[in-house]
Symmetry: C2
Subunit: 336 residues, 2 copies
């Protein structure tokens, strides 16, 4: 069903408030989920809210925590998220890191023990809007198989890049799996086959059956190169955050285990080409003659912004079952 | 022909000495090229030497320059390479950046106006051997087409990641093109067809004819995601180094224009999972049951190390034409 943004926000705030989330934390967590909905990323949207609530109820997430900070050198902020919500812990870390980057040229937040960040492009965009460069890395549950291997052993480890560009920041936000497990479930629900090479079944055999792939492994994007990147990010993040590795990562797809993944946010102060020079280059790329007539070349972020504008005007399309579950959770204050 | 490493080094030093390269610069430049040969990357090996010499003779490279340094904040070193050799300028920048990273947690070198770095994995490995994490980005001539576009507008923009791991560092070194232009030339020379989807011809039409692809464009690796990464790196590097963008980049494939690409080297101080914990994870990945029996899963850097050991024992395989050209250049001290 179509839900207006304000109504969706109000329900999300109610759901979060019901498990004791301070208002300012609830607003931040809700905004990150709603922005994902606006941008057409429902797998990182309101769908996540019931699990966040269950995690609080199970004592593996703390809606009040903002994280404990320790500088390891002036430019590297070590953050123990203390089980806080991902967006709350990340934003509390980004603020001092941005100030340090302004002064020092670069600074980094290395975050462990915090909840799912949501779509990491959101943080890259925030940082870029403030005039700085961002590289955001996050690890996650092992869903991706090594290139040439049969078992899921690597996270879908996304990378986001944010660059100040006129009139809107350049934002890349991509996972290193060829497809997300959320989309595999979508294909399975619709009985639609996957493309060859996208996934393995539980025995590690290639399959196009989406239902079988749910218990198997996703391929890295871009074959051996994407595998190398996913693995490199897994090591980099663990080396900086003491996060868990591979199949030891828990806590973003379940409601019962502590979150053991890690997040790394690098903020850099630009001093080279201006935002308008970069913008001119991106416009030239967009004007590149297309392979297929009528299908103009786009730049990462273009389509997401189009979807956002459409959804702002039209409302959010939220599956009935999820919306009804959220309304129940928002109304449950008296019982819980 | 097979050439012993010491003989190849001696000839390379002779070639570089003949254009006035100080001994210590010649040794560094030669080592980076020879290591690429050892690791089975001839496109980044001795093949490059005649061009380096021509660039010196044409006044667009300066074998004595080490770069002018200016700290933009305590953690960000801005480097004007002053036309120096890539390895010389990069190593002169890496030394102080490593010290700052040790103290501050992270530091960055942003380099413009310097020659081709060679295989950037070399720098990532050096930094990781010293116990620090490295991310190395470099831009290059526009050889890659935007996803869905017909023209080459983006560099093959490689990324290297180095992580201290026992017993040997983890080193990823990959370009963001699906294949290198060097390999396209190899295919053309052997009359071998390219795989579908790898390249476009000069008119921007898909082709498997390697000869036609030489004047066209290479596809980004991993479709839209690899395109996004390549473009993101192009912007990040330009934003930090004031390097040229897209088709304005010159100076690593020609002998006549200044080098206008940029290089960014990020050094981070690890404080999370230990090198031995990372190593245990990598061993578990290597032990993943393989898709094809007998083809064990490898980790980036494994094959390169095997090739290095073999080539150290066997000698370097250098095409006759290149070896004879290098010997001429080494012998030409009296005429030049």
């Amino acid at each position: 069903m179509l839900v207006e943004l304000d109504e969706a926000r109000s329900v999300a705030l109610g759901v979060l408030g019901n498990v004791g989330t301070p208002q300012v934390h609830a607003e931040l967590q809700a905004e990150v989920l709603l922005e994902a909905e606006l941008r057409g990323l429902p797998s990182h949207g309101l769908l996540r809210l019931p699990r966040i609530v269950e995690r609080v109820r199970n004592g593996v997430a703390d809606p009040r925590a903002t994280g404990r900070h320790a500088w390891r050198g002036e430019a590297l902020l070590d953050v123990d998220g203390e089980g806080g919500f991902g967006p709350v812990v990340a934003c509390a870390a980004i603020e001092p890191v941005r100030k340090r980057a302004k002064r020092l040229g670069v600074a980094v937040a290395a975050i462990r023990n915090s909840g799912h960040l949501g779509a990491i492009g959101w943080y890259a965009e925030e940082i870029a809007r403030g005039g700085q460069l961002a590289i955001v890395l996050s690890t996650s549950e092992a869903l991706v198989h090594p290139w040439g291997g049969r078992k899921a052993m690597i996270g879908t480890n996304p990378i986001a890049i944010g660059v100040p560009v006129e009139p809107e920041p350049f934002v890349l936000d991509m996972a290193t799996g060829v497809i997300s497990m959320g989309k595999v479930h979508d294909y399975a629900n619709r009985g639609q086959p996957l493309e060859p090479g996208w996934a393995l079944d539980a025995e590690g055999n290639p399959t196009t059956d989406a239902a079988a792939a749910r218990d198997g492994a996703i391929a890295p994007f871009g074959d051996a190169k994407g595998y190398g990147l996913a693995l490199g990010f897994e090591l980099l993040v663990a080396s900086l955050t003491a996060s868990a590795l591979g199949t030891d990562v828990t806590g973003t797809l379940d409601s019962t285990f502590p979150a053991t993944k890690g997040d790394v946010i690098v903020v850099l102060e630009p001093h080279g080409r201006s935002a308008s020079a970069l913008s001119a280059y991106l416009d030239a790329v967009r004007a590149c003659p297309p392979i297929r007539e009528g299908e103009a070349v786009t730049v990462p972020g273009d389509r997401s912004r189009q979807r956002r504008a459409r959804n702002l005007a039209r409302g959010l399309e939220i599956p009935d079952a999820i919306w009804s579950r959220l309304r129940d959770l928002a109304d449950s204050s008296l019982e819980s």
